[in-house]
Subunit: 380 residues, 4 copies
Amino acid sequence: MSKPLNIGMIGYGFMGRAHSNAYNRVSNFFELDYHPVLKAVCARSADQVKAFAEKWGYESTETDWRKLIERKDIDAVDICVPNNLHKEIALAAAAAGKIILCEKPLAMNAAEGEEMCQAVEKAKVTNIVWYNYRRVPAVSLAKKLIDDGKLGRIFHYRANFLQDWTISTDLPQGGTALWRLDAAAAGSGVTGDLLAHCIDTAIWLNGGIKDVNAMTETFVKERTHQLTGKVEKVGIDDACTFMCHFDNGSLGLFESTRYARGHKALYTFEINGEHASIKWDLHDLHRLEYFDHRDEGRLRGWRSIHVTDAGGDHPYMDHWWVPGLQIGYEHSFVHQVADFLTGLGKGEPVGPTFRDALETQKICDAVLSSAQKGSWVKLG
Amino acid sequence: MSKPLNIGMIGYGFMGRAHSNAYNRVSNFFELDYHPVLKAVCARSADQVKAFAEKWGYESTETDWRKLIERKDIDAVDICVPNNLHKEIALAAAAAGKIILCEKPLAMNAAEGEEMCQAVEKAKVTNIVWYNYRRVPAVSLAKKLIDDGKLGRIFHYRANFLQDWTISTDLPQGGTALWRLDAAAAGSGVTGDLLAHCIDTAIWLNGGIKDVNAMTETFVKERTHQLTGKVEKVGIDDACTFMCHFDNGSLGLFESTRYARGHKALYTFEINGEHASIKWDLHDLHRLEYFDHRDEGRLRGWRSIHVTDAGGDHPYMDHWWVPGLQIGYEHSFVHQVADFLTGLGKGEPVGPTFRDALETQKICDAVLSSAQKGSWVKLG
Amino acid sequence: MSKPLNIGMIGYGFMGRAHSNAYNRVSNFFELDYHPVLKAVCARSADQVKAFAEKWGYESTETDWRKLIERKDIDAVDICVPNNLHKEIALAAAAAGKIILCEKPLAMNAAEGEEMCQAVEKAKVTNIVWYNYRRVPAVSLAKKLIDDGKLGRIFHYRANFLQDWTISTDLPQGGTALWRLDAAAAGSGVTGDLLAHCIDTAIWLNGGIKDVNAMTETFVKERTHQLTGKVEKVGIDDACTFMCHFDNGSLGLFESTRYARGHKALYTFEINGEHASIKWDLHDLHRLEYFDHRDEGRLRGWRSIHVTDAGGDHPYMDHWWVPGLQIGYEHSFVHQVADFLTGLGKGEPVGPTFRDALETQKICDAVLSSAQKGSWVKLG
Amino acid sequence: MSKPLNIGMIGYGFMGRAHSNAYNRVSNFFELDYHPVLKAVCARSADQVKAFAEKWGYESTETDWRKLIERKDIDAVDICVPNNLHKEIALAAAAAGKIILCEKPLAMNAAEGEEMCQAVEKAKVTNIVWYNYRRVPAVSLAKKLIDDGKLGRIFHYRANFLQDWTISTDLPQGGTALWRLDAAAAGSGVTGDLLAHCIDTAIWLNGGIKDVNAMTETFVKERTHQLTGKVEKVGIDDACTFMCHFDNGSLGLFESTRYARGHKALYTFEINGEHASIKWDLHDLHRLEYFDHRDEGRLRGWRSIHVTDAGGDHPYMDHWWVPGLQIGYEHSFVHQVADFLTGLGKGEPVGPTFRDALETQKICDAVLSSAQKGSWVKLG
C-alpha cells in the first residue's frame, strides 16, 4: 500500500500550479511507495489562497508560512516563492525537520545557497531542487546515451535559452507578476532564471565547469516599478553569454536573453562528441536529434528521435500513452515527483539536491562576476 | 458554484485512462459550471476494475454495465469499450435518460449508428462522441482560420494516418489488447480506427463529402487469434486509401495504414486554399504550418506557428502554461470535457454529437463498400 | 583522349537552357570518353535563335529542324520542343540515324510513343528521355538502397508533385510560354507534365504498375487563349490523383496539382518497406530522409541524410565540392549527360530509353482513361 | 557588345575550380558588359596545370606566377593560393596594374593586409576578395531586409561555422591538400578559414565590431607533417569562440570548430531585432527563416522562405530556373563574378574590397590576440 506524503506548498504562482498538477497526477500514472497529499497551501492573501486551494484540492490554507512549517501534519514543504525568500523558508523548514522541495535557482547567490545546504545536511532532511528539465524524457535519454559512452570524448557543449517577452520598453518591473525583472526579488535576470537551467543540465550531462568568461547586457536601462509606480533603474541582466571550460576538457558556450524576437522558451543544447552528437530543443521537447558517425557512411544523418516509445526504450514513456503520442512541459514535473517519491521509498537521495544546485549557483555567481570584471573567473 | 456531474465509465483500457485523466484534470485548469465526479467504473473483472478505480479515484465499481446504467447517482455514461458493444450500451443508457459520451467510431456501421442517433434524440439526452483531435489547439486554430475565410476557395484536402505497429506477422489478433485487429470486435481495420478521425476532422473543417473511391488491402492474410489460439483469416483492412469530392468542389485524398515503417501515429492533414494553405501533424501537434500568398512577395514562406500562446491568441492555451511550453496528446481530451461541460451549463449541444459522428460512419461505410466494388460510391 | 559528340538542339525554352548548361559543364566535372560540342541550335525565329546560340556557345543556328537533322556534322539531336512535336522530329531523326535525346514526356500518348520506340529500335539509334530526377544524388541513393534490399518487402509508395502557379483565373493558356496549359500542345495537364516524373521515378524504384484508379479536375474551366485572344475551354487536367497496385504487391498513391498554394515545385516521394522507409523532397533535393527499424530501439528516428559526401559514399558527389556543400536542380541534367556519355563510350544503353519512357506514357494514358471512366484500368 | 576580361588564375585547388566554374558560367546566365576569358592558369607543376587548363578551357599555362603577372594579355589576376602567398602576389600584381581578385582571408594578418590595401589603392587597381557567401540569394535577401528596416533595432547577432573533418588524430597536417592545418601556410586555423566568413557577413549585415573576447583550443596537439613526415606540434586553432559588441549596441556571439561531429559545413547566422528575426543555414542555403512580430498574433511563426522566386522577388534568382528549383553552393561565386563585372562596367567598386576584407582581418587578429591574453581586446 502506498503511504501518504503530506505536502505543504508555499506560493501559488506559475510554479505553484505546475507543482500542484504534478502532485495531483503522479499517482494516476506511476506505482509508488508514496502518494502526495495536498495538505495545505500558503500565501499572503487569504482570499486568493483559498481560491487556489479549492481549485487544486488543497485541504487547508495558511497565510503565514511559518505556521505552515510548524504544522505537524506537513511532511514536506514546497518552496514556490520568489528567490529572495528561499533561504529563510528553507532554513526554517530544515530546522522543523521537514522534507524540502525548493524551486530553482536555489538561492540569491552561492553564499545563501551554502547556508541552505548546511542547514538541510545538518538537519538530515531530504531535499531537492526543481530543475525539472532533467526529467524531460528526451533529456533523460541524452543522459543515458552519454553515460553509455555513445558520444566518446566530448569536444563541445553549447546551450541557450532564448525568449522575447521583455522587448517592449513599456513593460514594468517588479510586483507579483513581474518579480523576475526586479533584481531585489530575483537576484539576477536571465542568469538565475534561464541560464541556471542550462547549467544544471550541462553539469549533469557533461560534468563540472572549471572557469567562465561572461558578458551581460541590460538593453532597457529603466522601467516603471509596479509597486512604487516610479521609473527606476533596471538591475537585472537582460542577456548573458559565457564561454567556459569543462573539467573533461570540452569547451562550453552558453547564451540567454529575453530579446530574441521569435523565440518564446527556446531552451536548446547540443553536445559534440568524438563518435556522436546530440541536440535537444524545448520547443519540440519530445524529440532528440542524434548523429552517429559509426553509422554506415552513406546513411549517416541527424536522426530525429520521437521520444514517445511506450515499449520501454524511452525513459518514463511506458507510463503514458502509445508510441507517437507526445507529452508536454508539465510532465517533467510529474516525473520529478515520481523519482523523488521513489527515492524516498528507497531512502536514497534524488538529485538535484541542494548541494547539486549549489554548484549551479556558484557558476551563476562566477558568470555574473566575470561579466562585471570582463575577465575569466575560476571556479572553486 | 460549480455543480457535480457524476460520471459512470464503462471500460478501462487505453481510452478509459485518457478519459479519466481528462475528468480529473479539467477543474484544475478550467472554470466551469460543472465539475466531473468519478462516481463509478465498470468492467467484467472485479479485481482489475477495483485496481483501476483506486488508481484513478473512482468512488465505486461495477462488473455489469446494466447495473451501472441503472444507478440513480450516475448522470453521464462514458462508453469506452470495443466498437461492437457501443450500440447496445448506448441504447440502454438513452433509455435510462443518461447523458452519453461515446468513444469513436460511433458504431460498427451506419445502420447501428442511425439506431443510436434515433435513441438519443428520442430520449433527448445530451450526447457526444470522442473525436478528440478537434480540440488539439492547432486544429481548433485551423478551424477558426478557415471559418474566418483566410484560405478562400478550397481546392484540396488531404489527410493521412500512418502507423507501423502491425508489420510483424507474429502479432496475434483479437483479445483484450488486440481487439482492433479483430473484425468481429472492431468492424473494420484502419478505416474505423484511423480514417474515422481523419474524416471527422475533414468534414468539420471542409464540409460534406459527395462521393468516394477507395482501395483497401490486407497485407497479412492470417494471424493467430489470441482467444482461440488458432490461425485465422484476418478480416480487417490493414490499409485504406480513398479519393473523394467535397460538397464545396474541393478534392479529397485520404490514406491510412499500419504498415508505414517509421510512423507511429502520424496523423497529418493539409488544406490548400486560393489564398492560404494549412498543414498539421500529430507528431508535433503543438505546431500549425501556414502559408499565406498575401504576404509580401519576397517574404512568403510556410510559417511554423508554435500554438502555445497563453495570451489569448491560441485556442485553449490561456488555460495552460506560458508561451513556448507545449501541451500533449491527452490535453485534447481535457478540452473536449471542458467544452462539453460548458455546453451543458448553457444547455447547448456540443459536437461532435452522435448525429455528427453518424456522418463519418456513413463515409466509412461508403469507403469500405467502394473498395469492395472497385468503383465510386455516392453519399446520401 | 575524349571524342567530340556534336549536339544539335531543337528548341531553346526552359529545357533548352537546362540541357545546354549540362552540355557546357559536364566536361569540367567528369572524365568521359566523349565531350559534347554545341554544334547547332534550331528554332523558328532566326533572331532569337542567334541570340541563344551566342549566349550558350552554339557554333551555328537553323530555323528548320529538318535541315538540322540532315546535317552530317550533327551526331545527336536533342528534342526540346512542346510534346506535340516530339514524334515527328524523333521519327525523322531516327531515320537520319541520329542519336536522340528527347524531353519528357516521350509523346502525346502511348500510341505515338510506340511508333517512336519502333523507329529508334529499327534504326538502332541510341536514345534517352530526360527524366532528370533519377540523377538527383539523393534519388540515385534511394535506388541503391532499395536494390541493396535495405527496405525489404515494400508496402507503400506515395508521390506527389504540387505547384500553385495556375490558381489565378487571369492566367491565359497557350502560346510559347504557356503551352503547358494548352491541351493541343501538351496532350494533358499535370498528368504528362508532373505525374510523368513521379511515375518514371516510381517504376524505376519500385517496378511495374498493374492497374490504376484516377480522378482528375479542371478547376478553372475557361481561359483566354494567348494566340487567338479568345476565351476558350480549358482542355487540360489541373489536378490528378490516382491509386494503384504495383507488381510487387505494394500500394501506390500519386497526386499532382497546380492549385496547392504554397508549393512551388514540391515533388516528393515516400517508400515504406518492412525494414526501412525513405522520403525525398525536391524542395530540399540534397537531403534524403531514412528510417531504419533495425537501428537500436531507443535510437530509432528519421535520419536527414545530407547527400553531399564527396568521399565516395554519395552518388555523383565526388565530382563536385566538399561535404556539406549542396548542388542544385540543374546538376541532375549534368549527371544525365555524364551517364549518357559514359554509356555511349561503353556501347551500353542508358535509361530511361524511349522504351522505358513508353511505360510511363502507358500509365499516364491509363490514368487519364480511368479518370474519364471513373473505374479501375488495368495496364498491359 | 560584351567586352572580354582576360583572367590569369594563380592556383588550381578547390577554389581554383570554384572560380573557374564561375567564370565559365556567368555569361550563360547574366547579360554583362564584360565576359571573362580564361587566358592563363599558373601553378608549379607543369603537368598538372596543363591538365587543369585543358579541363577548364584555359588558353595557356604558366609555372611561374611572376611571368603570368607580367603578361600583357592578362587583365585580371585571381589569387587562389595558400594565405602565406597572398601578399607577395598581390603586391606584384598591383605594381603591374592588374585587376586583382583574391581568395579570402585577405592575408596572414592585418599588417600584411594593410600593405596590400595600400598597394592596390596606390596603384588604383580594382580589387575584390572572395567572401562568396554574401552572394547566396538568401543572404543577399537578409541584407535587403535589414537595410529596409524590417528588423528594427538589433539586439543579437550570432553565427557559427561547424565542421567535423579533423577529429581523427591520424589526419596529417601540411602539404598541398592539408595546408589549412599548417599554421605556417594558413596563419591560423578556424579563425582565418571559417570565422573570417562569419565576420565578413556579420559586419556587412550588422556593422562594425567594437571589441572581442575569445577562447581558442587545439584539441589534437601534435600531427604528422605531410612534407617532413615528422610528428610536429599543431600551431592552428581547432576551435574558436568569441563574444563581441557591435557598434550599434547589439551583442555578438561567434563560434567555429572542426570538431562538431555531424556538421560538415554548417555555417549559420541568426539576427534578432526588435520587430523581426532572421536565420540562415548553409546546409540549406536556399532557405531563409524569418519571424515577424508584426504578423497577426495567432499567425506569428518562423517562416521558411524558399528563396527561389524567379519572378524578381528574390536576389539573383531571375537568372536561373523557376520557383521551387534550388541552386547550390557554386552559384555564389557566379553571382560574385556577375556583380564584379557589373561594377567594372560602371566603373564602381564592388565589395568586399581589400579594404573591406582588412576589417575582417583586423577582427581575426583581435580574436586571436584576445584568446591568447584571455581578456577583451578593443578594435580600432
